[in-house]
Symmetry: C2
Subunit: 312 residues, 2 copies
């Protein structure tokens, strides 16, 4: 792969060349910015960075499906909010849910399952459910240029990790298939597990409570350090919840690349500004990126292709 | 590597053949117990399973060294327990410390350091300090048959993880060098990290508090699931703190191998029974192993060699 043909799903003349330049610098054996392979750690947010997060998080649709099953068994839930709005298929109400609202419902929806049962449920959903606008499976709505970037980094001896604000076990259900990222290389929000011996042998069972804090804001670099034990040299995100992860990456001694995906393509995807509610930030994340010199990826200008299912 | 020459540091006639048989069964492509490579997850406790944990945990010696530095700066600490006993070099008092006592001192000793600073301090200690009985570096006191087992498993497409009750960052400082286990494949007890911006850029700083519970007992399988996202098919431990990890492994659908190292060799290492204080278990772990049918590794009978530094 030469730098002429690499990253062909990225348009020439901007971010593509910055990525190629960065990878060249940190992999040049006698160069001043050389980074040994074990330290070539790259971390990627998932929702809105690797796949589409609109009209709301994919996991919210998964929870919606589960709520349909649960309220079929407990009809009295159907008149309670947010169940009512969710079950009415009210996309406006769905989009207005805060991450906290989603979290509470997520936690209740799958409590009591073992990790294996949760994984099977997530797979069933992701193998079948379709996106309301694009009419394809949610797993088909990964960004082609980002998949290409993951492969390009691996070809240059980077280790690629996912650091998601979403549920770690939800993303793990498809991370190997759609991203080539091993289950143990996914870091994310988690629910508490408890040891249960009621069946005679030791089982782990999901509880209706977060395990630590949701993986947004300060917890993101903390969980990266806790899981990987190394500071990334490349980080990619798209929202205010990714700010601290990007700052931590940038603050390392030596070269780093901080990518921020800007959703500015309402034709091929969506045009929206990231919400900052989860980190109590008032500065829009695009302003932070400009102030700190991060590399902003314009979906409209930099992505030659967005989704594999679309005409190029 | 044929089964004739494999695991030559293990004596023939017992555990060695059980290991060879297990690996053969789960790697036989058309066999009824075949396990695909990504699911061949093996987890190893560290202290007393991969390296020597007597007269006390290696990390306790590291903390002792640090306390010497700290009390040089704050002499008033020298008359307080457990500082006094520790600094007196009183090995009897040291051996009598509970894991909780050790934890409190560990937490205080390295609070305020960044992960990089802690790693450098751990490396300095492990590169220099010598074991009081054997007169070699602590990192030389890994068990040769266990190192051979790690290599044998990798050669059969297993993924090898460490699940330690010790500090995850302490073990990571040498895990790649002495075990060939990547930093991110080490799971263990952790201290809280906090985001610190006082230096102008984002740093992470160690706090004087555990991050979650110490990685012993119930938390061990919970942390394994949280980190790896897969249930192990092979687990090895030596103490009551490993019981739940071994039970979780054994309870999977399909073949599993649960190894318990029995320290019964006072000539080449130590002879002692595991303490059960951390999990409030009253049944000695060797009795648990017998009751549940785990494979007990006799250091005296099964290990042809214990340490590389000893005559074979």
């Amino acid at each position: 792969m030469t730098s002429q043909t690499a990253l062909s799903a990225w348009r020439a003349g901007g971010v593509r060349e910055q990525i190629l330049d960065f990878v060249q610098r940190v992999t040049q054996p006698d160069g001043p910015e050389f980074v040994p392979p074990p330290d070539r750690v790259a971390v990627f947010d998932n929702d809105g960075t690797l796949w589409c997060e609109k009209p709301t998080y994919t996991q919210a649709f998964f929870v919606l499906q589960r709520l349909g099953e649960l309220t079929a068994a407990k009809p009295e839930l159907r008149d309670q909010e947010p169940y009512r709005a969710l079950l009415a298929g009210d996309h406006a109400a769905l989009a207005a849910l805060s991450p906290g609202d989603i979290a509470r419902v997520v936690l209740q929806a799958h409590a009591g399952l073992t990790p294996e049962e949760f994984n099977a449920a997530a797979r069933r959903f992701l193998d079948q459910a379709q996106h309301p606008r694009f009419g394809v499976r949610f797993t088909a709505l990964t960004y082609v240029p980002m998949l290409e970037l993951l492969a390009y980094l691996r070809a240059h001896d980077f280790r690629v990790f996912i650091a998601t604000g979403g549920g770690v076990e939800f993303v793990r259900a498809v991370s190997e298939e759609i991203y080539g990222v091993s289950r143990d290389d996914v870091i994310g929000s988690a629910v508490q597990l408890a040891v249960d011996r009621s069946a005679g042998t030791l089982r782990l069972v999901r509880q209706a409570a977060f395990w630590g804090s949701p993986d947004e804001g300060d917890p993101k670099p903390i969980n990266i350090q806790g899981h990987i034990g190394r500071r990334p040299i490349l980080a990619a995100g798209n929202s205010a919840g990714d700010k601290e992860m990007l700052e931590y990456t940038q603050a390392r001694d030596g070269a780093s690349l901080c990518l921020l995906v800007n959703h500015d393509d309402e034709v091929r995807e969506y045009a929206y500004a990231s919400r900052g509610a989860t980190t109590h930030e008032t500065e829009p994340i695009l302003d932070t990126a400009a102030r700190l010199g991060w590399t902003v990826v314009s979906m409209k200008a930099d992505f030659r292709t967005v989704f594999a299912s679309q005409p190029h």
